[in-house]
Structure formats: C-alpha cells, structure tokens
Amino acid sequence: MKKRLLIVEDEKNLCLLYREELTKAGYKVTAVMDADTALEQLKKHSFDLIITDIRMPGKNGIELITQIMALRKDIPIIINTAYQSYKHDFMTWAADAYVVKSASLDELKDKIKELVG
C-alpha cells in the first residue's frame, strides 16, 4: 500500500517537480499550492505525511502547522523551505523535520523515508 503524502508548495514549478519526483519514488502524492486547500484535503482524506513550505501567500506554513495540531491529527510534518532562519521560530518544534530546499532532493527523500518508510 503506497504511503500518501500531502505537499504544500506555492511555486507552481516546484510543486510540479515534487509531485513528479516523489511519485517516481513510490508515493501517492497530493500537491497543493496554499494552506487552505491543504486543510480541505486533510479534512477529506487521510495522509501519512505532510510537507509544507513556510512562506506562502495567504496562511503561511507556521499557521498551517498550528491548525493541523488543532485538528488533532497525528501526522508527521516536514518543513521544506528556502529559509534557514525559520529554524529558530517557536512553532517549528511541532514539525518532525526541517529541510532547507536544495537543488538535490536527496535530503527530502531521506527524511520522508525516515518518517513513513
């Protein structure tokens, strides 16, 4: 049974890249471009892992994490961002991993494997 990933990434091309690459890596991927759509998806479907950007139009990733916690869904979360500095943000402790975006997706793939197998 394929593991289900929910990816929140507001950049169209990156969203496409993650969807393709993680599908290729053997996951069932839902990729959305903003936090509200992500929350809708979470209410409708069950996921094994959430990967979210932080800086996005509308609700940002930190707000999304807060709301996911309020939903009491016990789903591991990976923060995937261009910003190193958010690591010191109070709310990022709630995430299970913090990955700084890199041209190689290896670290992200490793973390996913670590968290959901």
């Binding site: 091309n13 990156l14 261009a82 910003y83």
Partner: protein, 451 residues
C-alpha cells in the same frame, strides 16, 4: 518672562575673557558637520589664533596603530610671516571664521613647509627608551620642555626640527586609549609658556581627545551598520535565489534520467528557461536598487510625469474594481527631481497602493503646493493599511508584507526622494488605508502666475 539665547554664541560681550571665547570656539567646532581633520584644524586654529591669545604654533600628531604620526603644523613659518599674518588678524572684523579659512588654505598650499615637515614624521610608540614627543602620548601626561637642545629626554631630530627650546606637549586621550598629541610653542614671540597657558592647553587637550574619540566611535558604528546591512543583503539574496535554483536543479536531473520522454524533456527545458529568466529579473532588480543614480535635479512637469506613471499602471488594475483619480493643483507646474527615478518612485508607491487595495477600492493621486518651496505628490488608498508592527521598518530594505515581495520598493522610493532633496510622510490606519506624501522642492512661485 523668559529669555532665549542661541546655544551657539557667535558674538561675545566686551567682558568675556579670551579663554571663554577660545573654549566656545572649540566646543562649537564639534557640532560642525565637517570631517574629523577639518574640525581638529579649528581647534588648533583656536589655540594659535594671533599673538594676544594662546600659542604661536601648534603641531598635531595622531595615533595610527603603534605609531604617532604627524598630521599638520599650524603657525607662521618665520617672524616676518608672523608679523604680516598677525597684523591682518588683528584688523577689526576679522574673526575666527576668517582665521580658520586662512589656515585651511595653508594646509592645501604646496609651499606650506611646516606641515610638510611634520607630515613626514612617524614615531613608534612602544620603543624604549620613550623619548619626547612619544613620551607624552605613552605616559599620558603633559610635558613642558624648557631646554630642548640640552635635554637628553628629547629626540634629537625632533628638537632640531621644532627649532625652539621651549614647547609644551599635551596628550590626546580617551578613557581607554591614547589618540595623539598636540605640541605648542611660542617660537616667534619667544614668550615663556606660563602656568595659565598650561591650564588652558590641558582643557583644550581634553576636549580634543573627547572629540576624536566620539568621531572614531561614530565611524565604527557606521562601519558596523554597513557590515550588518551587507549580511542582511547576502542572506536575502541567498533566499531569493534558492527557489529558482531548486527548480532548475530538479528538472535538470530529470533530463538526465533515461526514462524521461521527449515531450517531458521539452517541457523541462522550458521550465528551466523560465526560471533562469526569473533569476535574471531578481538580479536586475537588485542591481537597480544598489546603484540608484540620481542625475541632476531638473524642473519636471508634474502633469506629464504623473500621466506617464498612470499609463504604466493602468494594465495592473484592469479587471479589478479600483478607481484611480488624479488631481493636480492648477498653480503647480513643475517639481525639482530626476524625472526617471522620481516617476519610478511614484509608480512604486502606486504599486503598493494597488496591492493594499486588493480587488476593490479607490486610489487618489494628488499633487499640490504645500508652501512656496515645497510640492507634494500624495497617494491615498482605501486599502488594508500598514500593520502597526512594521510601521517603523517599511523603508528598510528587504522588509516586506508580501510573501514573495523583495522589500525593495519603498527602500527605493526613500532613496530616490532623499537624493532629490525631498522627504516622505506616511499616514496609515489598519483596515482604513494609507496616504503617502512625497515632498519635492519646487521652483518658487512667480508673482502674477497665481490663478
């Protein structure tokens, strides 16, 4: 009943002592927006201004690393020169400003042999035995030399150069460090240096030391700010470049994968190309910001400039219910600015207004005279307003409320308006809207053209 006095006194009463005037000149010089060296020149001038007060000549050394380096030497080079200079200086109407101007011109003159001589000097500070002049700086004590030629504590070459037996060395110090040294003498008049002279010189030395210390601290703060700004900038650029780079890298990897089909490869190349264009755009905006080059201010037709800006901005509001109104006061025709940059600055403000308004609202652009000298271009919107938390920071580079904003727009606006000699005022209420007022100088209103 109150009486008001200017803190910066220019004229003194008859009873005011020479000492009081001297201290006043020196204290005021610290408020002059000139360079450190220029203000030190004022202090040194005050110490040597004429035969009636103070000393004939004054020499300045400043500490540079482990060395005491000669900076300049003020005073007449000979008795004849002293005679003519002092005669001019005692003419009624000649005050300190004129004397300072005279000395300033001396420093830049080729033939100024005194300064030329002292400029060559450099003494290591921590070499034993410590001789005069370095002894004063290292011991942080005033030293009065009475018989330089026969005094073994005086550096022989220095004694030869100064050419007089009696001189006074005053250290320039801060709380922590030695900053330099002033050496005073009466080589022309041969008047003995008195106890009163020493008392006077000690206060001047303390004031000068304090001033140098403050100036150095200020420079250090400016340097630190520059470094901090550069760090911020480097961080920002890193982030801006990361997303496109990740995209390019990821899709390039797919190209290398033999399983990727031709159609997908073509798509990937197109994505890569568009991301590279984006990178280029980011670099272009950054470099535009970094080298704002405000050319000479010229009289620019406000109507023409604003029309052009509005024309550029129209496409952005098509399809939205945003009304933009423009009103230019009939009496206002021109403002003084660099038309390209000022127009671009107004466009940036309008861009922000449109972002703030969203899908529906109104924006008023008004241009009017505030006074005879100042004109205002005001942009008022009914948008969401500036969040209280960032009100103080909106002109800083790289601060943005937009998730993908670069935070360069308003920083650019401020730099341009500053460079044009104007200023900016903002009124904003969260949820109600924002008004930006850009002040530009205008040509004075001509009589009779008033409608």
């Amino acid at each position: 009943m109150i009486e008001r006095y200017n803190l910066f006194l220019h004229e003194f009463s008859q009873e005011a002592s020479k000492e009081l005037q001297l201290f006043s000149i020196i204290a005021q010089s610290f408020f002059q927006p000139f360079s450190l060296m220029d203000n030190l020149l004022v202090i040194m001038t005050a110490l040597t201004a004429g035969p009636g007060l103070g000393f004939n000549r004054a020499m300045l050394f400043l500490t540079e690393g482990d060395c005491l380096k000669g900076e300049f030497w003020l005073g007449p080079a000979s008795a004849e020169e002293a005679d003519s200079v002092w005669r001019v200086l005692s003419t009624p109407g000649i005050g300190y400003p004129e004397i300072i101007e005279h000395n300033r011109s001396l420093l830049t003159r080729e033939a100024d042999t005194l300064t030329k001589r002292v400029k060559k000097l450099s003494y290591p500070l921590y070499k034993e035995p410590s001789l005069i002049p370095t002894l004063t700086a290292s011991a942080r004590q005033m030293i009065l030399v009475r018989d330089a030629r026969n005094e073994p504590g005086v550096d022989k070459r220095f004694a030869e150069m100064i050419g007089t037996d009696e001189f006074l060395c005053i250290p320039l110090v801060s709380q922590k460090e030695g900053l330099g040294e002033i050496i005073l003498d009466n080589a022309i008049t041969r008047l003995p240096i008195t106890g009163r002279d020493i008392e006077l010189a000690s206060i001047c030395g303390l004031m000068a030391g304090n001033y140098i210390y403050t100036a150095k601290l200020q420079k250090r703060i400016v340097d630190m700010k520059k470094v901090a700004a550069m760090g911020e900038m480097a961080m920002f650029v890193t982030h801006q470049l990361r997303n496109p780079l990740v995209t390019i890298g990821g899709f390039a990897d797919q190209l290398l994968d033999p399983q990727t089909g031709e159609k997908k490869k073509k798509r990937n190349i197109q994505i890569i190309r568009s991301e590279i264009r984006r990178l280029e755009k980011i670099l272009l905006r950054l470099s535009q910001f970094l080298r704002i080059d405000v050319r000479e201010k010229i009289a620019v037709d406000v109507q023409e400039m604003l029309n052009l800006v509005l024309e550029q901005i129209r496409p952005r509001i098509s399809g939205r219910r945003i009304a933009i109104d423009m009103e230019i006061e009939a009496g206002l025709r021109v403002i003084l600015c660099d038309p390209t940059n000022a127009g671009e600055a107004v466009r940036n403000v309008l861009d922000n207004a449109i972002d703030a308004v969203g899908d529906e609202g109104r924006i008023d652009v008004r241009a009017y005279r505030e006074s005879a000298e100042w004109a205002v271009i005001a942009v008022q919107d009914t948008g969401k307003g500036i969040p209280e938390a960032i009100k103080d920071k909106i002109f800083d580079s790289f601060v943005s409320t937009k998730e993908k904003g670069m935070g360069l727009g308003l920083a650019y606006v401020k730099r341009v308006v500053d460079a044009c000699g104007g200023r900016i005022e903002i009124k904003s209420a969260e949820g109600k809207g924002t008004t930006f007022k850009l002040y530009f100088q205008t040509q004075p209103r001509e009589r009779g053209t008033n409608p």
